[in-house]
Structure formats: structure tokens, C-alpha cells
Amino acid sequence: MKFIDSIKKDFNTMTWVLIPVAIAINVVIGQIVVLLRLPVYLDSIGTMLVAALAGPWAGALTGTLSNIIWGLAIDPNAFPWFPVALFIGFVTGWCAVAGLFKNWWKVAVTGFFVAITAAVVSTPIAVYLYGGITASGSSFITAYLLETGRGVFEAVFSTNFLVEPVDKIATALLAFAIIKGLSKRYISRFPRSENVEIEEGSRTNQLVIALIIAIVLIIISATVLTLILG
């Protein structure tokens, strides 16, 4: 009972009305990004928004439904990746509960955790769909590179393993930027508005810290991957 109650906490009328809008934001921005041919996805901004404002369960639901809708409306290739979308919402939600959505650099860290989660969750899916892992290092990398679901060519030959952290950190920062642009009164309507009580502090400082952290984290992930490659 307590568990169900803690899930229910995420959901009030505002949450229920927000979720379709968040899904629409995911899809529309995701598509604008394709139109502008930017090398990122940015298709989870709405998910992270819901996760921060309403909680991990609402975030997970938003991610899952968003994935399903994307599959129905745009590209059914997306369907098998629904656990990734789910965890994006789920992890962001818990990070927000833990207080990691209150200033720029904390949000960057959240983005990084989400990126790791996305990579971890998507690998088994890619493996199941596109081939088994053998002891040979090369097929492991290929399997990992395929986790973004992109074409074989790109996956094998491009530097996609940098995209996930960049994408997810950027998504988190954008979601945070949106929250900053909403009035406190509006935010207070949502079940977990305390998650986003923005910590004051020099904006420039925080942005600089966020940038530094983002770069550091990306370098770390690139290094790790190079090690696996080697």
C-alpha cells in the first residue's frame, strides 16, 4: 500500500494534463532537431521535465508513452527502445528527488547519470536485436555502437559514443532552462515542485561549472570507451 501511495504521489490533475504535452514536446523538438540536422536527439526534454516536476514514476510513464507514440507516428524502429525512454524518466525523477535538479551543474550531473543509464539499458536491447556478443572485442564494440539504433555504417564508423552524454546533458540543461522560465506559482501546482526550488547563486558561475563538469564527464566517457576499444 505504501509503495502504491508513493507512486500515486506523482500524479495529480496537472500531471495528467502535462504528460500529453510533454510527449508532444518530445516529438516536436525531436523532429525539429532532425530538420535542423543537428547531431543530437533532444527527444526527451519533455520526459525530463515531467520527471523533475512530478516525479520518477510520472517521468517513466512519460518516457514509455512517448516512445510508443514516436513509434506509431514517426518510426517503429523506436519501439524496442522503450526501456531506455522509461529509465530516462525514472532516473531523472530520482535525481531530482535527491536534489540534483536545483542548479546548472547539478543538472549536468543528472544528465550524465541518465546518459550512463541509457547506454547500460540499451546495450542488451541492441544485443538481442542485432546480434550476440562474443568474446571478441570488435563485436562488443559494434554491439555497443549499435545501441543508439543508428545505421550500421554510422555505428561502426562514427564517433557516436560521444553523442549520448552530450545529448542527455544538453537535454537535462534545456529541461532545467524551461523550468527556470516558468513562474514559481505555476510550478507549485505540481506534486514535486520542491525538486526544482532553484538554488540561487551567480548564474555565470554555475554555467561555467556546468560546462566544465559536462566536458569532464564527456572526456571520462570517451576515455572509458577508448579503453574498451583498445
Binding site: F11, T13, M14, W16, V17, L18, I19, P20, V21, I23, A24, I25, V27, V28, I29, Q31, I32, V33, L35, L36, R37, L38, I45, L61, L65, I69, L72, A73, P76, N77, F79, Y128, L129, Y130, G131, G132, T134, S138, S139, T142, A143, L146, V152, I178, G181, L182, Y186, R189
Partner: protein, 258 residues
């Protein structure tokens, strides 16, 4: 005109007349049978002997064929190729490409996986082509699904096309004001804000008023709900559902036996 986000084709057929739950049971039993069947050709047999005839029964065979061609075959085809190349090889090696091999074993596995996914997606397509989302959600709500959850599904299906239409308008308006959507990297990144900004904030502001509007219509009422339209559930429906459950159990059970 507002685009719709529904697959539903409005036609009268035996599939259309089935209760939505029956069709859902059909989808899930097909999935379970395809994924747990002990024979590697079972999913393919399901496709030929069940899925395709059902598309005719639903009088949506043309739309199903089109959906298959556009959505399904590329995915499944890609999957088949990938599995053939990357799945651990067993049996005779048939082909060598760089460091990748295709063997009988991997071909068989690829075929199995591809046809399983084909069954899964096809079953959903059949469901969606013959069931209006409103009716589907209404039936599930009657059977216990949360009304709020059903609300999210149906309203996403309408709000998304609305937002896309708005996005098109904003994109066109910005373009005519000189916004550069081609051009260099920085240009394109800069283009993101004026496109996405008004859209995102506008739609978020609506959320509060819409929440008030649905509360004013007793959205959070704890009264037992009633339903405007009747959705028939016939003895035939029940028979079909039970038969499918039995078949599913038999299939899963056959794994233990074999």
C-alpha cells in the same frame, strides 16, 4: 485540417466488431506463442496462417500491406541482416564478409527473431487498424484501467497533431522572417530557440487552464463512471479469448514437454 494520429480505419468487418479486449488478448497470445514456440518456423506459420488471413477478415488487408511495406519490412529486414552477421555462428559457414560470418545457425536464428518481431508488430497493427483508440480506452477503463491513464493516451493522440501543426506554422513564420534553417552549425543551433521556445512555453501555459477545465467537468470525481456508448461483448468474444488463452498455455507448456 487537423491530422489524426490514429491508425484506425473505419469499416465494418468481423474484426471491427470484436470486443477490444478480445483483440488485445489476441495480440498478446500471438506474441507469447511466437516468442515461446519451440519451433523456429512457428512465427512464420503464424504469419501465413493467421495474421494475413486476419487482415482479410478485418477488410483492412490493403492498409495492413501498406503498413507492412512501409514500417515493418525495413525494420525486420535490417534486423535479419544484422542477426545473420553478428549472431554467434553455428553450423556450416555460408558467407564471409570482412571479419563477419553468416552461418546456417545464425541464419536460422535471424529468421526466427525477425519473424517473431514481425508477428508482434503485425498483431499490434491489426489491433490498431480495427479499433478506434477511444473505444479501446473506454473498454479498458470499464474493465478497470485508470481513467486518468486512458485520458493521457487519448489526449496525446489529439494534442500531438495540434502541436505539430503549430510547429509548422511557427517554422514557416520564422523562415519568412529570415530564420536560417540551413547554413552552418552555429546557425542551426541558434535556430532552435525561436522555433522551440514559443511552442514549448505556450503549450505549458495551457496545461494549467486545461487542468482547471477538466476539473470543472469532475475529472477527479470518485463516482463510478458511466459510459456514453455501449461496447458489446458477445459469447463469441469470450469463446475466442478462452481459446487463445488455452492455445497460449499449450504452446508455453510444450516447451517443458519437448
Amino acid at each position: 485540417m487537423t491530422q489524426q494520429l490514429t491508425f484506425y480505419i473505419d469499416r465494418d468487418s468481423q474484426l471491427h466488431r470484436l470486443n477490444p479486449l478480445t483483440k488485445i488478448v489476441l495480440v498478446f497470445s500471438f506474441i507469447i506463442i511466437a516468442f515461446t514456440g519451440p519451433w523456429y518456423l512457428l512465427p512464420a506459420v503464424l504469419i501465413v496462417l493467421a495474421i494475413i488471413p486476419l487482415s482479410f477478415l478485418g477488410r483492412i488487408q490493403k492498409e495492413y500491406a501498406a503498413a507492412t511495406r512501409k514500417l515493418l519490412l525495413p525494420v525486420v529486414g535490417f534486423l535479419f541482416v544484422m542477426q545473420s552477421l553478428f549472431h554467434p555462428d553455428t553450423g556450416e559457414i555460408l558467407l564471409k564478409l570482412w571479419f563477419l560470418d553468416i552461418s546456417v545457425g545464425s541464419l536460422r536464428y535471424a529468421f526466427l527473431t525477425a519473424s517473431r518481431i514481425f508477428v508482434m508488430v503485425s498483431a499490434f497493427i491489426l489491433l490498431l487498424l480495427t479499433t478506434h483508440p477511444s473505444v479501446l480506452m473506454s473498454d479498458l477503463t470499464r474493465r478497470g484501467l485508470s481513467g486518468s491513464f486512458a485520458y493521457v493516451i487519448t489526449s496525446t493522440l489529439q494534442i500531438l497533431p495540434q502541436m505539430r501543426a503549430k510547429a509548422s506554422t511557427i517554422i514557416d513564420a520564422q523562415r519568412s522572417r529570415g530564420l536560417d534553417t540551413e547554413g552552418g552549425y552555429r546557425q542551426r543551433v541558434r535556430a532552435l530557440l525561436p522555433l522551440a521556445g514559443p511552442l514549448v512555453f505556450g503549450s505549458l501555459v495551457e496545461v494549467e487552464e486545461r487542468a482547471i477545465a477538466i476539473e470543472a467537468r469532475a475529472f477527479t470525481s470518485t463516482q463510478p463512471k458511466t459510459y456514453l456508448t455501449e461496447i458489446p461483448d458477445t459469447p463469441l468474444d469470450r469463446t475466442i479469448r478462452w481459446s487463445l488463452v488455452v492455445l497460449t498455455i499449450l504452446t508455453v507448456g510444450s516447451n517443458l514437454w519437448l
